[in-house]
């Protein structure tokens, strides 16, 4: 991967021209991959900057555990190529709908059920080539596992929602798919489930996901066959049919379950989908909803006022994101205190001084 190679790609040159031209007009561009996450965060605004022309897997070496792809490459294509070699994106990025792109995945920085065991998307970003708001094509990081040359700008791009640059190419660390997977279920209430999860968390068990919803705890074990069998014996519970289990975890990962998708009627009545990120050992909170990541991610369906939800999350050392709502005037993401907000504004200016890229997608004044 290099900026020099990419700069010769007509699609990248076209993006650069669009940025320079928009900057001259003081216009805002809405960086658009598959348009599968436009519901998440603050509403997109400005003229669409289509990324679908900049596609293709630039290099993939299974023995190096690294794949490099241009940003407009469909995520489904990337996952299929990895699966052929028995590899995967360990953090299980949510897809929400078909058509998402690799660039959109990195910009959103979201992870699925495997997050608590596998780590966030950010941990798997090894390098990026991006166009900043001045139309400069820059490469940070690379394709190697350990790299501390300069600030880790490539990982800053994970979850930046496009406000700092247009991702053109990304290198990701990939992992071998787990040999064996099993899902156990336990009919336990919320307090018991949280307590058991905390206890298991401190034991050397191959836990790869957990979700509690409506009186049932499901845990997924993944790893070497011996480790999974051993853990199943240790934990008890009932084994879920593998096909049923896979479909259920996909429903959590991609928000396929009805719980994650309030109807138009429900939304217009003021019901919202919230994501609370809290320390995993936090005891039961005001609402139960759906609990993932060993207690660290809690999804709520509620009409409770935004301020109140955010205060409840902050009181336990967490924060709350308004994911689906008819009215997001309270802000999609939890507001930042100083000096963090000052640093955010300064970083935005450092990468995109004229606010050409995804203006207001993360916070209104960025």
């Amino acid at each position: 991967m290099s900026a020099a190679e990419l700069s010769r790609a007509p699609a990248a040159e076209h993006l650069r021209e669009r940025i320079l031209e928009a900057r001259a007009r003081r216009a805002t561009l809405d960086i658009r991959g598959g348009n599968t996450k436009s519901f998440y965060g603050e509403p997109p605004r400005g003229e669409a900057l289509e990324m679908r022309e900049l596609t293709g897997i630039s290099s993939y070496e299974p023995s190096e555990l690294v794949i490099t792809a241009r940003a407009g490459t469909p995520l489904a294509e990337l996952e299929a190529v990895l699966a052929e070699k028995g590899q995967c994106l360990a953090f299980e990025p949510p897809r929400f709908a078909p058509g998402g792109t690799v660039g959109g995945m990195v910009a959103a920085g979201l992870a699925g059920p495997a997050r608590s065991a596998a780590g966030p998307l950010r941990d798997y970003v090894l390098g990026v080539t991006l166009l900043n708001g001045r139309g400069e094509l820059l490469t940070f990081g690379g394709q190697v596992m350990k790299n501390v040359a300069g600030y880790d700008v490539s990982r800053l791009m994970a979850g930046s929602w496009g406000i700092l640059g247009v991702l053109c190419e990304v290198s990701l660390k990939v992992m071998a798919s787990k040999v064996k997977t099993a899902t156990l279920t336990f009919d336990w209430d919320e307090p018991r489930s949280l307590a058991e999860l905390a206890r298991w968390n401190a034991l050397p068990l191959p836990l790869s996901a957990s979700a509690w919803h409506e009186g049932r705890l499901r845990v997924r074990l993944s790893g070497a066959a011996a480790a999974v069998h051993g853990a199943c014996r240790k934990l008890g519970g009932s084994m879920l049919d593998p096909g049923e289990a896979a479909a259920w975890w996909d429903g959590v990962r991609d928000h396929g379950h009805a719980f994650f998708r309030p109807s138009e009627v429900e939304l217009s009545s003021g019901e919202c989908l919230w994501r609370l990120s809290v320390p995993s050992a936090t005891p039961p909170l005001a609402h139960a909803g759906l609990i993932e990541w060993g207690g660290a991610q809690r999804w709520w369906r509620t009409r409770t006022a935004a301020q109140e939800v955010r205060a409840l999350a902050a009181a336990v050392g967490g924060h709350a994101t308004l994911v689906r709502a008819a009215d997001k005037s309270a802000g999609a993401f939890a507001p930042l205190a100083e000096p963090l907000m000052r640093i955010h504004r300064a970083l935005k200016s450092a990468f995109d001084p004229d606010r050409v890229l995804n203006a207001a997608r993360l916070y209104a004044d960025l």
Partner: protein, 500 residues
């Protein structure tokens, strides 16, 4: 370029006047004994683990609380005084090298473990707590802190955050970044700030990812929340002998390609093995061209399964001898030579320079052969010990720093290794950081626009550029100078001229 003598004395006079002014201002916010000004008191702070670079700090201060630290930063910010934060001083790239007109802030007094929480598997510790002390405190709960830099007995968690330190087990368990949830600290102007959170993420940009590994350039860390993980039931180490460097390199790539993630995968070349064996008597096979140390950890069943899988790969790749540790005592013995590689090398040469580049794993053998060729080119010996599983190299170039010509050849040798690493698709530093040591190499790795973007990131956190100025990111002027002087592949301009 050395200054004329009268300039030096003028500079010294200016420095002494400035020292009095700053010391007086700091005396209003710190108790007297926490301010060190006399040369004999500040001497221990003149360098870090990279002893080839030394500078005398204008002042050293030892704040004992966050409020004292904040006050120090506010004074320095108001007076425009550079601030160099310092942990245990074990860094290997000169990141804690003092500034002659700056204040070195020792964080040694921030040495409390504030909380070990077995429910959330986290620990909250002050920045001056030693890396190993965290694992020792967590042991009562069957937990430990995974990153284990070889200096873990002395280095502090604050320094680990600054450098994004790794260690022999980071192949499986990750670097500092992957094991930290929250970093609390102070901005250059003395405001408290928190990156990350006690949860698994925080709102807004992932600033913690930039702060970790920023070498004290963006904020001063005071407190860190780390993840603790359950100590594995069992660990076994295998030592495999290979008849050639190429076959050992191939074995590393094949282990990874088969989807095995060993807890550690280290390579030592024959000369390093000999040096380590003489030092610790671990019983290494001295006839092998290269040794691989592979560790497996987990439950007894997992370890048995993985050891067999690794044995098959190593045999397929031509291992001539494989030994598996029988018990914990033997496992530690297997590791002892690897863990003492640096001090052992110190015993056979007056000085050594440790390189730290990372390359794609499949190029390991190629790189080792290139280094062998460089040994004859520069007339210096080099011993090799690698975090092979990560492709992170630590060639140690042996030389005598008192011999100017050897020193010069050593620097050329080092630059050649770094540039070859870049050509092979790698990076100039995998875990030791840029500091002052690799500033020139940054000119080669990054374009002017990329370096300008780095400098803009620095200004976003520290607009007045008071934190650790002059480190990590070279200025455009410095790179222009280096470009003119640039010595490609050891070919000095005018090689016949003497240089000192």
């Amino acid at each position: 370029m050395s200054a004329r003598p009268e300039d030096e004395s003028e500079e010294e006079a200016r420095r002494l006047a400035r020292r009095s002014e700053v010391a007086a201002a700091l005396a209003r916010v710190l108790p007297g004994p926490a301010i060190l000004a006399r040369r004999e008191d500040t001497a221990p702070y003149e360098c870090d683990g990279l002893t080839a670079f030394k500078a005398s700090p204008m002042l050293v201060v030892l704040p004992a609380s966050e409020s004292e630290l904040s006050a120090v930063l506010k004074v320095c910010h108001r007076l425009g005084v550079p601030v160099v934060a310092r942990g245990a001083g074990t860094g290997l790239s000169g990141g804690a090298l003092p500034h002659r007109f700056g204040v070195t802030v020792s964080l040694a007094k921030f040495d409390k473990i504030l909380k070990i929480d077995p429910n959330s598997c986290t620990a909250v510790v002050q920045c001056g707590v030693r890396n190993l002390a965290i694992s020792e405190a967590a042991a009562a709960f069957g937990l430990y802190y995974a990153p284990d830099p070889s200096s873990q007995i002395a280095c502090t968690i604050g320094g680990n955050v600054a450098e994004n330190s790794g260690g022999v087990h980071c192949l499986k368990y990750g670097l500092t970044l992957h094991n930290v949830l929250r970093v609390r600290g102070f901005t250059a102007d003395g405001e408290p700030v928190e990156f990350g959170s006690g949860a698994l993420d925080a709102p807004g940009l992932d600033l913690m990812a930039v702060v970790i590994g920023s070498e004290g350039m963006l904020a001063v860390t005071t407190e860190v929340t780390v993840k603790l993980i359950p100590r594995p039931e069992l660990a076994r180490c295998m030592i495999a002998s290979f008849p050639t460097i190429e076959s050992a390199g191939q074995a590393v790539a094949t282990v990874i390609a088969r989807g095995i993630v060993p807890a550690g995968l280290e390579l030592m070349d024959q000369r390093m093995t000999q040096v380590a064996e003489d030092y610790v008597h671990a019983g290494y096979d001295l006839s092998a061209a290269a040794l691989l140390l592979c560790e497996s950890d987990g439950t007894a069943e997992e370890v048995a399964e993985e050891v067999e899988a690794m044995r098959r790969v190593l045999e397929d790749c031509g291992a001539t001898r494989i030994e598996v540790s029988r018990d914990e005592r033997q496992r530690l013995k297997f590791w002892s030579g690897r863990k003492n590689a640096f001090p052992a090398s110190g015993g056979i040469s007056p000085d050594y320079m440790c390189m730290d580049s990372t390359i794609p794993r499949k190029r390991l053998a190629e790189m080792l052969l290139a280094i062998q060729a460089m040994e004859s080119k520069y007339g210096l010996r080099c011993v090799n010990v690698f975090h092979a599983g990560d492709g992170n190299l630590h060639p140690l170039i042996l030389y005598d720093a008192n011999d100017r010509d050897q020193h010069r050849r050593c620097e050329l040798f080092g630059a050649d290794i770094l540039e070859t690493s870049l050509e092979l698709g790698g990076t100039v530093t995998g875990e030791h950081g840029v500091g002052v040591e690799k500033l020139n190499s940054m000119c080669v790795q990054f374009s002017p626009a990329e370096r300008e973007q780095f400098l803009a990131v620095k200004r976003a956190f520290d607009p007045a550029q008071m934190l650790n100025p002059g480190k990590v990111i070279p200025t455009l002027a410095r790179c222009a100078e280096y470009g003119k002087m640039h010595v490609h592949r050891g070919m000095m301009p005018f090689p016949e001229l003497p240089r000192y």
